[in-house]
């Protein structure tokens, strides 16, 4: 208790900002690709899923960090999985009761949070060895880094694939009259992977330190 450091010390701020850029869970650690492909055909599910992942990851990180010294190491993965699964079910139940519209839009995606590799990855790599507050920041930061990529990918896929953004048509009718067509390929999962690839390419060419020798 003696080494009291400020809540937002430089080290803690890094926990929040690093995952957005040089330690991004999707583009650098290449985790959570599966859901990045599945939910990014439209902006809306991508945003709502990012928020749900943030809630689950932050809470799971805090809980695991609180009980980290009591967890028997041989069953630690099972313990983490049970905590994550329970949290996801709680989020799903609460959405169904209090935000029914949102829960309908998310449908299967909420359940898919359990399979998100980022969550298990952060619990294993960070929450098991750190105090609750840094673990909380780490959860928020990583979920934000995940969300930002999801939103970027969904932006391009919805714009080019459906000609809409957040469900509103943005490409003027005149373009369609001149022969422009929505690119149906953008809606299919392979284009999400290619879009993620382009983001990784852009990020690495701007920051040479990320390139492995």
């Amino acid at each position: 208790m003696s080494d009291k450091e400020p809540l937002f010390s430089a080290k803690n701020r890094k926990l929040l900002t690093n995952p957005l850029g040089i330690d991004n869970p999707i583009t650098i650690q290449v985790l959570g690709i599966c859901s990045a492909l599945a939910v990014t055909a439209k902006l809306e599910p991508a945003i709502v899923l990012s928020i749900s992942v943030m809630a689950v990851l932050a809470l799971a990180n805090v809980i695991v960090s609180l009980i980290r010294n009591t967890i028997p190491s041989r069953i630690r993965i099972i313990v983490q999985l049970v905590i994550v699964a329970a949290l996801v079910i709680l989020v799903d139940q609460i959405l169904k009761a209090f935000a029914y519209d949102v829960s309908k839009q998310l449908s299967v995606f909420v359940g898919l949070i359990i399979t998100n590799c980022i969550i298990m990855g952060r619990l294993e790599a960070f929450a098991l060895g750190n105090r609750p507050w840094p673990a909380f920041l780490d959860g928020i930061g990583n979920a934000a880094g995940y969300g930002i990529i999801l939103v970027i990918v969904a932006f391009f896929r919805e714009l080019l694939g459906s000609g809409t953004l957040y469900g509103f048509p943005v490409i003027p009718q005149a373009f369609y009259d001149m022969g422009y067509e929505n690119n149906g390929l953008m809606i299919l999962p392979p284009m999400a992977l290619i879009t993620v690839g382009i983001i990784i390419w852009v990020q690495r060419s701007r920051d040479k330190s990320l390139i492995e020798s």
């Binding site: 439209k42 099972i78 709680l90 609460i94 309908k104 449908s107």
Partner: protein
């Protein structure tokens, strides 16, 4: 304490499971009423949307009680089996569709208001690509012409099959005929891009072929069981 011993590990796992189970069942029980109420409100909203009456979760119950003047259960022979409004509302199509045609209880919701007139609302349910799809079809009082339709789905692909719930997909259903000139029941056929002039067909969703076919089968299966009811003389 030795956190590596077998006894500790077993105890830890057992206690954790009990705690998690307790928390989850408590949440599930305490939220169940709210969740069911939400589902009922959604169904009422969907019934009203089939006749293009917009409602919010707050006023849906009131509007439903006001405009749905009658709800009846008919059988495949077109005979009225029940006219209990709440019983009709509770009919579970998933279960009914598994029964033999003659055993099915077929709900009909009667909508009446001064501006729009009398419409019959028929629930439908079928299979999409990934899961169930369902909806409500509203019929003009001539019992041949579709007045409006809404569809919804559990898990169709966003941007593809999920487009069946889109207003642009639903609007063309108005005015479609489910009986041909000779008075034969034909349901609506799935075509590609040419349905706008054909009153007996609807356009497929591009990229959502499996969902579109499921929708075609759903209309055929569900509406055909009402054939005799539609043909029977008006009450």
């Amino acid at each position: 304490m030795n956190t590596q011993s077998n006894t500790y590990t077993f105890l830890y796992a057992a206690i954790m499971v009990v705690i998690v189970a307790a928390v989850l069942s408590f949440t599930s029980l305490s939220l169940k009423d709210r969740q069911n109420a939400n589902k009922e409100i959604e169904k009422k909203q969907n019934i009203l949307r089939a006749v293009n009456v917009a409602s919010t979760p707050e006023d849906a119950v009131e509007l439903y009680d006001k405009f749905i003047v009658e709800a009846i259960i008919v059988n495949s022979e077109g005979e009225v089996k029940s006219n209990d409004k709440s019983e009709t509302f509770k009919v579970d199509l998933k279960r009914e569709n598994k029964k033999e045609l003659t055993e099915r209880r077929l709900p009909v919701f009667v909508f009446k208001n001064e501006g729009i007139g009398e419409k019959l609302i028929i629930p439908v349910r079928g299979k999409g690509m990934w899961g169930p799809i369902w909806g409500f079809i509203s019929m003009e009082s001539d019992r041949k012409t579709i007045y409006g339709a809404i569809f919804d789905h559990k898990s169709e692909t966003p941007g593809l099959g999920a487009e069946i719930a889109n207003a642009d997909f639903l609007a063309p259903f108005k005015g479609k005929q489910i009986f041909n000139q000779a008075g034969m029941f034909t349901s609506l056929k799935l075509v590609k891009g040419t349905a706008s002039n054909n009153p007996h067909a609807f356009d497929a969703v591009s990229g959502g072929t499996v969902t579109s076919k499921g929708l075609e089968a759903m209309l055929q299966d569900n509406l055909s069981s009402y054939e005799k009811f539609f043909k029977s003389s008006k009450k």
